[in-house]
């Protein structure tokens, strides 16, 4: 990076000349107030808050007032932040903004973490001089997730800039003008964007606040917080979770430059409420009845002594918990707990990333790709933040237009004016239309096999030595050539795929394209989405899939099945699960929410959710990231790995005696499984760092909150696993980036305190972003092109290929039980192309009968013209269909008719 020297209040400072003055001043640690600027949104110069005085040269004593956010940090620039005239100017701007702002901080949810409060204090504005009435608005109902209070608005525009320009939403806008400008929807209603929750953090004050927090409100300064990882998809966004009085209160974004940056999706932000769901298991259950901890351990021990044990792990449990079960049952008797097909697909993805030359990019690298091909994924619903990142990626190529005119990247509206509607290449081939299609160069909707064929054809068009697709239609040939040309012409091409189609050809085709690009000398990236938060980590354990568990139960004398954080009825059809459960005498389940598997168990142990546990998850990039316990439960809830350790030691196991705490455990895993060699480096060990307080220094009521039990303040709970303390007391020394419990700095109470933790604004956290990549592409060229190209899909008469249709709210197991999100779930339906619907005499809004294997259901019809012929869609993960392993062929009949042996036609 080139460096420029500028003078701030006569002191020479080295800065990044590609940036604006506000950016560099904040990067240097100056407190310069701002509102409309945001590092992810750039500068528009609307609020006039970041005024500084600029001087022509050393002799210039007069200077002129400029907006720091709109002025480049060019070599030799001389500015003053402390000049009395700009100080007064900035105070005057705040005075104007505060003119209409209500005096309601004590009852405002934002109070105590409000950027407007911070900036007001920073400028020294104290006294209201405007004596007229304030303008008022009627607030809107925006759904169960985001609350609206327009009177607090200071018209900075950040909400609409984020919602519309950054996230591509259409239903939020600025209305009217001047003093009565209003930000909201055209009428009351649920915000349509999957990223609406970011308004809570984007808004510098309390116009948009977290509506779920309102039900169990606490000030930020009263929350006990810890760094955590989102468990609601495979991307592993970093979150900060907050607790008060023993319950989880909220989740906010935890900045990680490489992963989620500044934003979360609504599933990630609001899914946390499942932790306090009524299904929560807080005490052991023995034979379906509440039992004490010792009764449970006794039963566990007794069962273990009776005979052989097999363990079924889970892609939504931590590496540590999966490993503990593997250690207890033995590597030969530990199974992955995912359906065979899914297991094969995920292993294929891991293998492609490990054996081939294409690298899995971080989400930041995804955003900086300049040509993208998405194959078979509905990213907005499967990996939402990746969709948000791709929305920015299409700006990369057109950004060169602005660069050609010497318009810096951060000058947001000038860049947007220059670029207009120009978008970089993004091609989407998916089984049905996705929300990202609106920014796509071209889209192709077809059955999974046909998608794979397009993929293989693109690979062949890039590199003629890749196998050719036989009998490809001329249109697909043309499309493949077009996509191949766009990818080849890019500096940072990216291919995205995943397991959503449940089709191996799709995954191999994506790998083939990336490999072909690498072969012709292009630095291609390959990003696979993962179905769950630790699918990747579990795959690295290389445990056999669920059917092997059933085979083992049938072939060997197995007395006990231990299931770890896994509802088997979502993993396989009910009859298969039942036959597995019948094959053993004892079923022990560790989980946190009640489900059909826990219902069937003899012994249920209350497992900690992410909020009550420490552990490591591996995201879709292959990045291992640690999450830390936020609260110390007063119930029997604890990490699954700790339960398993306790019973093993009690039952006399020698192998597990060696580890007592998290650091021992991660060291053991690193030693035993080569893929996890770097696991201890994911976060510093407890011994390496002094105490880090989970509670802010203003945490109130510490001595009083348990006074109803005893007036003597109890000793704070001890955390044996990390340097984080359940206390307000920190040791000296800086906090490592992976252990930052919350972002706060003197004078910066809002989430924008993150400025003080970054090496450069919008860049890496000081000391490097958290997480360690566990896989890198192979340097040896041992890989070979895949040659198994599926034949073109042929629709069957009287049968339809049933594929999963993903929903951000509903398809994921845990967030469905969050109170806010549960109000937004789709009703079960069957999606059909109108032409197919007319074949079976079904109409929109009507009902239809569906025969899946041997089960019949009746469902509402949804007509979707974007669905390919011969295909029907079923919402993924929604009960009662969550155990059905799609895709498979189904039969359809209109209500009132019967299925014949050959279907209805």
């Amino acid at each position: 990076m080139t460096v420029a020297t500028i003078f701030i209040d006569n002191a020479p400072r080295e800065v990044n000349p590609k940036q604006n003055l506000l950016h560099v001043c904040l990067s240097l640690g100056y407190d310069l107030p701002y509102f409309c600027w945001h590092p992810a949104l750039g500068s528009v110069g609307a609020c006039r808050q970041c005024a500084v005085k600029q001087f022509r040269n050393e002799q210039d004593a007069t200077g002129k007032i400029v907006m720091a956010c709109m002025t480049p940090a060019a070599e030799g620039t001389r500015i003053s932040i402390a000049d009395p005239e700009v100080v007064a100017f900035r105070a005057g701007v705040i005075q104007g903004l505060m003119q209409n702002h209500p005096h309601d901080c004590p009852v405002c949810d934002e109070g105590g973490e409000c950027h407007l409060q911070d900036m007001t204090v920073m400028t020294g504005h104290r006294q209201r001089v405007y004596s007229f009435g304030k303008r008022t608005f009627r607030n809107q109902y925006l759904g169960p997730l985001v609350n609206h209070e327009m009177n607090r608005c200071i018209q900075c525009q950040r909400c609409v800039r984020f919602y519309r320009e950054y996230a591509g939403g259409h239903d939020l806008n600025a209305f009217h003008l001047r003093d009565s400008i209003f930000y909201g929807r055209h009428e009351d209603g649920v915000l349509e964007s999957e990223f609406s929750g970011n308004l809570v953090e984007i808004c510098p004050t309390g116009v948009f606040t977290d509506a779920t927090l309102k039900h169990h409100y606490s000030r930020k300064w009263d929350l006990q917080m810890a760094p955590s990882i989102c468990v609601h998809c495979g991307l592993g966004c970093n979150i900060t979770a907050g607790e008060r009085y023993g319950t989880l209160r909220r989740v906010v974004n935890r900045y990680n430059h490489e992963v989620n940056g500044y934003f979360l999706c609504d599933r990630g932000r609001f899914g946390y409420e499942f932790v306090e769901s009524s299904l929560r298991i807080r005490h052991p259950l023995v034979d379906g009845k509440p039992a004490t901890r010792s009764e449970a351990l006794e039963r566990f021990g007794a069962v273990l002594r009776k005979g052989a044990v097999i363990g079924v792990g889970s892609p939504r449990a931590s590496l540590e918990s999966n490993f503990a079960l593997r250690a207890l049952a033995g590597p030969d008797h530990f199974f992955a707990g995912v359906p065979d097909e899914e297991s094969r697909l995920i292993s294929a993805m891991v293998r492609i990333l490990r054996d081939g030359p294409a690298r899995s990019p971080s989400l930041d690298e995804v955003e900086h790709s300049d040509a993208v091909f998405v194959l078979g994924e509905d990213l907005t619903n499967v990996a939402p933040i990746m969709a948000l990142r791709l929305r920015q990626s299409v700006r990369q190529a057109p950004m060169r237009l602005a660069a050609g005119l010497h318009i810096p990247e951060w000058l947001d509206h000038a860049v947007r004016e220059t670029v207009q509607d120009a978008k970089g290449p993004l091609f989407i081939a998916s089984p049905y239309a996705t929300k990202l299609d609106d920014i796509a160069t071209a889209t192709y909707h077809a059955s999974p096999d046909d998608l794979a064929r397009l993929g293989f054809a693109i690979a062949h068009a890039i590199d003629a030595t890749a196998p050719e697709v036989i009998a490809l239609s001329p249109e697909l040939e043309t499309m493949a050539a077009k996509i191949a040309a766009a990818l080849r012409g890019a500096q940072h091409p990216l291919v995205v795929a995943g397991a959503s189609c449940r089709n191996r050809g799709v995954i191999e085709a994506a790998g083939q394209i990336a490999w072909a690009l690498c072969k012709v000398g292009s630095p291609a990236s390959l990003s696979f989405t993962m179905p769950e938060c630790n699918s990747f980590g579990l795959a690295l354990m290389e445990a056999p899939p669920l059917s092997e568990a059933l085979r083992t139960v049938r072939s060997e004398p197995v007395s006990t099945l231990i299931v770890l954080e896994n509802d088997l009825f979502r993993r396989a059809p009910a009859n298969e699960v039942t036959s597995l459960l019948r094959g053993v005498q004892h079923l022990i389940v560790l989980d946190h929410l009640g489900n059909p598997t826990t219902d069937a168990a003899e012994l249920v142990l209350p497992a900690g959710t992410f909020a009550e546990s420490d552990g490591t998850l591996v995201n879709n990039e292959g990045r291992a990231q640690r999450f830390f316990q936020v609260l110390n439960p007063s119930t029997d809830v604890q990490e699954s790995w700790r339960w398993l350790h306790e019973v093993s030691v009690a039952a006399g196991s020698k192998s597990m005696e060696r580890w007592e705490d998290l650091d021992d455990l991660t060291a053991t895993i690193a030693k035993e499984i080569a893929a996890f060699g770097a696991l201890p480096k994911v976060a510093p060990p407890r011994s390496a760092v002094g105490k880090i307080a989970r509670e802010p220094s203003r945490y109130s009521g510490r001595t009083a909150m348990l006074a109803n039990i005893s007036v003597h303040e109890p000793r704070p709970p001890q955390d044996p696993d990390s340097s984080l303390a359940f206390s307000m007391e920190s040791g000296p020394g800086p906090v490592p980036s992976s252990l930052i419990p919350f972002f706060w700095a003197p004078g910066w109470n809002s989430v924008q305190a993150v400025n003080k933790f970054q090496s450069e604004i919008g860049g890496a956290l000081r000391g490097g972003d958290p997480g360690v990549r566990l896989i890198e592409p192979s340097r040896e060229s041992v890989w070979q092109y895949f040659s198994a190209i599926p034949p073109a899909f042929k629709s069957r008469s009287g049968e339809w290929l049933l594929i999963p249709v993903f929903h951000i709210f509903g398809s994921e197991e845990l967030s469905r039980h969050a109170q806010g999100i549960s109000q937004l779930l789709p009703r079960p339906y069957l999606a059909l192309n109108p032409a197919e619907a007319s074949l079976v005499g079904a109409k929109a809004g009507g009902r239809i009968k569906i025969l899946i294997e041997d089960s019949q259901f009746e469902l509402e019809i949804m007509l979707r013209a974007d669905l390919p012929r011969g295909v029907a869609g079923l919402p993924a993960g929604l009960p009662p269909f969550d155990g059905i392993q799609l895709p498979l062929f189904c039969k359809l009949a209109s209500v009132g008719t019967e299925f014949s042996a050959r279907g209805v036609l």
């Binding site: 259409h170 239903d171 939020l172 806008n173 209305f175 009217h176 003008l177 209003f182 055209h186 009428e187």
Partner: protein, 154 residues
């Protein structure tokens, strides 16, 4: 529902614009010429026709004071309140108009005959005070002339 006539006019005009977004103001003015104002329902219809969200259209509609989002009377009188008219007695004219019609600026008379709206400038400063009724400009107003003009609109 948009009428066939409104739809036809919009489709003709669409050819003059590079994209549908650019057509938002014109399409709302077409509806307003036919109905006097733009209702929520009309916004919904236009949203469907132009493929723009209702929020997009309403953001534009509420920005411009000449796009009306509330029903108006049979006639719309726009009274200039900018500086030249103010110097030349515009306030007197405004008060007289309001008292004659027994209503205030921004309101519609009880019989639905007139809606009175303020406007910042009619570009007739050399003939202030001025007002405009249903698109026709009236200049050099005094009380007597105002009465004569108003009487023409039933």
């Amino acid at each position: 529902m948009l009428t066939a006539e409104e739809r036809r006019e919009i489709e003709i005009k669409l050819a003059d614009y590079p994209n549908k977004q650019a057509m938002s103001i014109e399409s709302m003015l077409i509806v307003q010429r036919h109905r006097g104002w733009v209702s929520d329902e009309s916004l919904g219809d236009l949203s469907e026709l132009l493929g723009l969200s209702v929020a997009d259209l309403d953001g534009v509609a509420t920005f411009y004071n000449l796009i009306r989002r509330r029903p108006v009377g049979r006639h719309v009188a726009m009274v200039c309140d900018s500086v030249s008219c103010w110097i030349m007695g515009g306030e007197r004219i405004r008060d007289r108009l309001c008292s004659r019609l027994d209503t205030t600026l921004g309101e519609t008379t009880a019989d639905g005959r007139f809606t009175l709206l303020p406007i910042v400038c009619l570009g007739a400063c050399d003939h202030a005070p001025a007002m405009m009724i249903d698109g026709k400009l009236y200049e050099d107003l005094d009380e007597q002339r105002l009465d004569e003009v108003v009487a023409r609109y039933k």
